[in-house]
Symmetry: C2
Subunit: 217 residues, 2 copies
C-alpha cells in the first residue's frame, strides 16, 4: 500500500485521512493548527504540526517520502497554491488538491496538481440527483447520460416479476442486482418477484428511471 | 416535479441549486448576503434575499410552498438549527440540512430535519477510496462490504477474456458492464476480450478487487 500525506485537517482533509487509515494505509497528517493535529493523532499513523508553505517544515516532516499527498487547505487560496507547488518541488509523484472554485482549480492544475477536487460542488450535485427522484439512494455514471442507479422499490413495483415489468422493452432499463435483506442477487432472472424492502440496482437514463418509478404514482 | 428551496448559497448550496435547475426543477434560492443572491439569480427560477432565522422573512419569500427545502448554512450552527426549526414550523414536508460534525447532525435530527448530510465528510471518504486503489474511478455501496466499482483496466488484464480471468471462481467478482468507447456492454459474455481503454463495472469487495488489479503488477 502507498504512503499518504494529508495537509490541512478541515472536515474534508480529516475525512480523507481517517478513511485512508481505515482502509489500511499509513497516513501522515499535517496542519499548522496544533489543536487540529492533537485531535487527530490517535487516528492516524503520524501527525505533525507544520506550516505547509515552508519547504523546510515539509521536508522535516518527511512529506517527500509519500507517494500521494492530498492538499486539503481550502479557504486560503494562496496557501493552497503555494503548498501544492512546494510538494511537487519535493518530488512527490501524485498530488491531489482541493479547490474552492473553477479559477482556483485552474491555478492548481497549472502549477502541477495531478488531480483537483471540488468536494462541496460534487456532493451538492449528488444530493440534487438524490432529491429529484426520491427513490434514488445513490448512482454512478456509466456515460454522459447512462448511470447505474441504486433505488428503493416503489410500492407499485412490489409483487411484480421482472418479466411483468418489461424493463428493457418498455423503459430501456437493465436491472443488474437486487439487494434483499443481507443477500445480493446478481443478474436476477426474469421470474424474480420484487419485494417491498428490495434495493434495486438499475442501469439506464434518469428519464427512463423516472418513468418506471412514477408510473401509477 | 417538486418545488425546491435552497437556503444558504455557499459552494454546497449553490451546487445543489444549480444542479436541481439543470435537472428540470424549479428552485427558490435564498441567502441573507445580497451579493450571493445577485450572483445566482440568472441560474435559478427565483432568488431572494432573506434572513432564514426570521419566520416572517421566510413566509414572505414563499418557502412554505416548497415540497423540499435544503438548508445549506454550515458554519453558523445556531442559524442552521434555527432555520431548520422554522422551515419545519412552516409545514414543509421534507427538510434536508447540512451538518458540520456529528453533534451538529444529532441536533438537526432532533429538531426535525428529515435528512442530514455531511458533504465534506462524504466526499473525503469517496476520495480516499479512489486513491487506495488507483484504478477506481467511482464506486457504489451494495452492502457493508460489497460494492459496484467503476475501474480503469489494468495493463495485465488487456487481451484476456472474462473466462480466462475466472473472475467469479478466482476472485469472487462479477463484471456487470463494460464501457468501451461510446458503448455500454451490459452483462458481457465470457468470451468478451478486455481492451486497453475499457472501463469495467465490477461487483465485489475492495480486497478481491485489489487482488485482481494487483496481480502481476
Ligand atoms: N499553511 C498551512 N499549513 C498547514 N495547514 C494549513 C495552512 N493553512 C491552512 N491550514 C489548515 O488547513 C485546514 C483547512 O483549512 P480551511 O479552513 O481552508 O478549510 P475548511 O473550510 O475548514 O475545510 P473543510 O471544508 O474541509 O472543513 C485548517 O485546519 C487550517 O489550519
Ligand atoms: N441566517 C441566514 N439566513 C440566510 N442565509 C444565511 C444565514 N446565515 C448564513 N447564511 C448564508 O449561508 C451561506 C453558507 O454559509 P457558510 O459560510 O456556513 O458555508 P460555507 O462554509 O461557505 O459553505 P460551503 O462549504 O458550502 O461553501 C452563506 O452564503 C451565508 O451568507
Amino acid at each position: 500500500f502507498y504512503q499518504f500525506t494529508v495537509i490541512g485537517l478541515g472536515r474534508f482533509g480529516t475525512s480523507v485521512a481517517i478513511t485512508l487509515e481505515r482502509l489500511g494505509c499509513s497516513v501522515l497528517a499535517i496542519d499548522e493548527d496544533e489543536k487540529k493535529v492533537e485531535e487527530l493523532k490517535d487516528y492516524v499513523s503520524f501527525a505533525k504540526v507544520a506550516n505547509a508553505t515552508n519547504i523546510n517544515a515539509l521536508r522535516d516532516a518527511g512529506v517527500q517520502n509519500s507517494d500521494v499527498v492530498i492538499i486539503a487547505i481550502a479557504n486560503d487560496i494562496q496557501s493552497s497554491v503555494l503548498a501544492t507547488l512546494l510538494v511537487k518541488e519535493l518530488g512527490v509523484k501524485y498530488v491531489v488538491a482541493k479547490a474552492v472554485n473553477d479559477a482556483h482549480g485552474k491555478i492548481l492544475e497549472k502549477i502541477g496538481a495531478d488531480l483537483v477536487v471540488f468536494p462541496e460542488k460534487e456532493s451538492g450535485e449528488l444530493l440534487a440527483q438524490r432529491l429529484v427522484v426520491p427513490n434514488i439512494i445513490d448512482f454512478m455514471e456509466l456515460s454522459a447520460n447512462v448511470k447505474i442507479f441504486e433505488v428503493k422499490t416503489s410500492p407499485h413495483l412490489v409483487g411484480k416479476t421482472l418479466e411483468d415489468l418489461q424493463l428493457r422493452r418498455k423503459y430501456s432499463l437493465n436491472i443488474l442486482a437486487i439487494h434483499r435483506g443481507g443477500d445480493i442477487i446478481i443478474n436476477p432472472h426474469p421470474d424474480e418477484r420484487i419485494e417491498a424492502e428490495d434495493i434495486l440496482y438499475i442501469v439506464g437514463t434518469l428519464d427512463s428511471l423516472n418513468k418506471l418509478l412514477m408510473v401509477e404514482n
